[in-house]
């Protein structure tokens, strides 16, 4: 088939089975948008800002398990994608970004809207291509998709000069990828898996420390079989929330800076830590030297470079988690040989700690507590079949982690590694595009919401109805918390006010449903109305300010030095 470079891009997307791409046109990508106008099966969702398009593609990828696609023009369009690309890099989200570039003859001349985007993004992509010959385009597209989703998932970028989009070629989508330097492991080493099973079989206080890699590997079933077979307690990181059912008796919360005491104690007082697609992030470990002292570590990961990067692994297993966990489960079962595992006293101990140190917050006063908003959302959605939560970054995100219970994979979508404020709303739009029948709720902060709220227009006009609940304390809440705790209560540039803008009116201006909640009595009816409306809705829940997230491992402290609750009057009222 003879077509243009632009046509080849669309035909490649079709050949990859791409259902939807998120983007915003501009000069250097015009030929590709013309190809869209000429006809394709790929739906295009028009964002209002390229950052929104990028986060939508991320939300789509995380909700569907497929590769997200974002499209932008050269220069500022491409640089607006940098934040989503960095976000996808940190959280291992499979993403293909296609950017227009100025004509080949203009590259290097500081032409209008020229930017060396392959240079700018080099540290935050798995790989990138500046396509200089239209004949290369099909094989580059093939390689881009293959690379984004194999091994450890992540973002790739394809930069296509305008003249390359316009050039003619005989299009044929290749069957094979030609990437001699990309050889992700196909299975774990049997000897390492056997060694891991040996240790787990005799451990008395083991813990499965589960990270987001488990979701990317689609290995949640294998994880569950391993945990149940060995009676192994599970903690899931923020990125892995939902990878193991949170109402399951073997689930013991979330580790890290704002994880409950019992989750952190499980991680730090165990005798064997089995890291599954997790990377010993500083927000999980606290001070590394004080993390899980003396504990033996088994580390399972598809990325060899994660093993030993921060914490030495006594038993490293490099390989894709799905077969690794399956083989490990079988090997463990063979060693137990019908004998009950030794973990029951440990499980009783963990349950005791959970009883002893419950999550709590001050309930006095008439003002609406932010935690109450999350609890109510949990109650109201518990009976719904398919709920996807997305969040921004900050206090509301941590409360969402603590109070929402996710029993299914891909039901909690958040920015973990990069901590990108403004991620939640566009990610929700992308998630809705991936799973149109799901109830998609973005739990947002007032600071986060204002960073990407223009995408309400996308949600409304593209018929991707999402509910956004703003936990509105009028502050950059997490920054305020740190100023309170570590900077002598000197609040500096964190007060946003809870009334400007009028969020409900802003929502209405975008054609969405806007509701304001000032008291606990108003909360449930408003949330119910928003959830039942079937429309894009914004619930502005005005909560009390100066509420801190606890427990907390102060930055630089060891996990065992976790501050459970701030007893100082006024902070937890």
């Amino acid at each position: 088939m003879v077509t243009t470079g632009a046509g080849a891009i669309l035909r490649s997307l079709e050949a990859e089975g791409v259902e939807v791409a998120f983007g915003l046109p501009g000069g250097a990508i015009l030929p590709t948008y013309d190809a869209w106008a000429l006809g394709t099966t790929v739906r295009h969702v028009l964002a209002r800002h390229e950052q929104g398009a990028g986060h939508m593609a991320e939300g789509y990828a995380r909700a569907s398990g497929r590769v997200g696609v974002a499209v932008a023009t050269s220069g500022p369009g491409a640089t607006n994608l940098v934040t989503p690309i960095a976000d996808a890099w940190m959280d291992s989200t499979p993403l293909v970004c296609i950017t227009g570039q100025v004509r080949s003859s203009l590259i290097g001349t500081d032409a209008f809207q020229e930017c060396d985007i392959t240079g700018v993004t080099m540290p935050i992509v798995k790989h990138s291509w500046l396509v200089q010959d239209v004949e290369e385009l099909p094989s580059v597209m093939k390689a881009a998709f293959h690379l984004a989703r194999t091994g450890r998932c992540g973002p790739v970028l394809v930069d296509v000069p305008r003249d390359v989009q316009e050039a003619a070629l005989e299009f044929r989508y290749p069957d094979e990828v030609d990437l001699p330097g990309w050889r992700p492991p196909e299975r774990g080493h049997p000897r390492q898996i056997a060694a891991a099973a040996d240790r787990i079989a005799v451990a008395e206080r083991p813990v499965l420390y589960v990270g987001g890699g488990t979701l990317n590997a689609e290995a949640c079933g294998e994880l569950r079989a391993l945990a149940e077979g060995g009676r192994l307690p599970v903690v899931t990181t923020l990125m892995a929330k939902g990878a193991f059912p949170e109402t399951h008796e073997l689930h013991f919360g979330w580790p890290g800076m704002h994880g409950p005491k019992w989750s952190n104690w499980a991680m730090n007082k165990c005798d064997l830590l089995v890291a599954v697609g997790a990377r010993f992030d500083d927000r999980v470990t606290g001070k590394l030297a004080g993390f899980a002292p003396g504990v033996e570590v088994i580390h399972l990961d598809v990325d060899a470079a994660e093993i030993g990067k921060l914490r030495r692994a006594d038993v490293p297993v490099v390989g894709p988690l799905k077969p690794v966990l399956r083989e490990l489960g079988a090997a463990l079962a063979a060693r137990l040989d019908g004998r009950p595992p030794r973990t029951e006293p440990w499980l009783r101990q963990l349950e005791e700690w959970r009883e002893q140190f419950p999550l709590r917050y001050g309930e006095s006063g008439d003002t609406l507590k932010p935690q109450r908003v999350l609890e109510t959302l949990q109650e109201l959605t518990a009976s719904r079949n398919d709920v996807i939560w997305t969040t921004g970054v900050g206090q509301h995100q941590m409360w969402a982690m603590q109070y929402l219970l996710c029993d299914r994979p891909r039901s909690f979508i958040t920015s973990g590694g990069l901590g990108t404020m403004g991620y939640g709303l566009p990610a929700a739009v992308g998630a809705k595009a991936a799973r149109p029948d799901a109830t998609v709720v973005c739990v947002d902060g007032d600071g986060c919401f204002q960073m990407t709220c223009q995408e309400l227009a996308t949600a409304v006009l593209e018929n991707l109805p999402i509910v956004t609940v703003i936990v509105n304390n009028g502050y950059l809440g997490m920054v305020q918390q740190w100023q309170n705790m570590f900077f002598g209560e000197r609040l500096s540039q964190v007060h946003l006010t809870n009334a400007v803008p009028n969020y409900a009116a802003l929502a209405e201006a975008y054609g969405a449903l806007g509701l304001t909640v000032n008291t606990e009595d108003e909360l449930e009816p408003a949330l119910e109305e928003a959830l039942a409306s079937g429309r894009t809705a914004v619930v502005d829940a005005r909560v009390c300010d100066r509420q801190e997230v606890f427990p907390m491992i102060p930055a630089g402290a060891a996990a065992l030095d976790l501050v459970e609750y701030e007893e100082k009057a006024g902070l937890v009222s």
Partner: protein
């Protein structure tokens, strides 16, 4: 400790930038770097030296393996590799000192690459330590300019099957 790495990369635009950028991003300083063609036109070889602990070296190798353009990474360990470097050294050489300098050069198998009224340009190829010694000896005469290629290396032919570093 200084380690020498021999890296085969695809001969593609940006491949060298990706390697050097990875070092910068992860906070490792490259001591020397030489890049050039190999027996295969589509493959280039980088020989680079980095000063780091053994643990960091493993991390560097793993991170390099993740780069799509990188085909192979090997450490060239002392004794198992042939290493060479080339230097061009321009030295002050008024006519009365020329003889002395040229005699010195002969000891090191250095060649006179160019001769001017009051300067000589030497060309020397050898083990990097030999170049260091030669540089040291001509320095008192006044080195005007100096350029070294950085070392390149190959496994010794006498090492039958080069030990591949165990990848965990």
């Amino acid at each position: 400790m200084i380690h020498t790495l021999s890296v085969l990369i695809e001969n593609k635009p940006g491949a060298l930038a990706r390697v050097s950028q990875m070092f910068a991003r992860r906070g490792y300083n490259i001591e020397s770097l030489a890049v050039g063609p190999t027996e295969r036109p589509d493959v280039s070889r980088i020989t680079l030296r980095v000063d780091c602990a053994q643990g960091s070296l493993e991390q560097i190798e793993k991170q390099m393996h993740k780069l799509v353009n990188v085909l192979r990474v090997r450490e060239l360990t002392r004794g198992e590799a042939v290493e060479r470097e080339l230097a061009l050294i321009s030295v002050n050489a008024p006519p009365e000192r020329r003889g002395e300098l040229i005699a010195l050069a002969e000891v090191f198998n250095a060649r006179v690459a160019d001769l001017g009224p009051d300067a000589l340009v030497f060309e020397i190829v050898g083990r990097p330590e030999e170049l260091d010694s030669f540089e040291e000896l001509v320095r008192p005469h006044g080195v005007k300019e100096l350029a070294r290629t950085g070392r390149i290396g190959l496994s010794r032919a006498s090492v039958a099957t080069p030990q591949r570093r165990q990848r965990v």
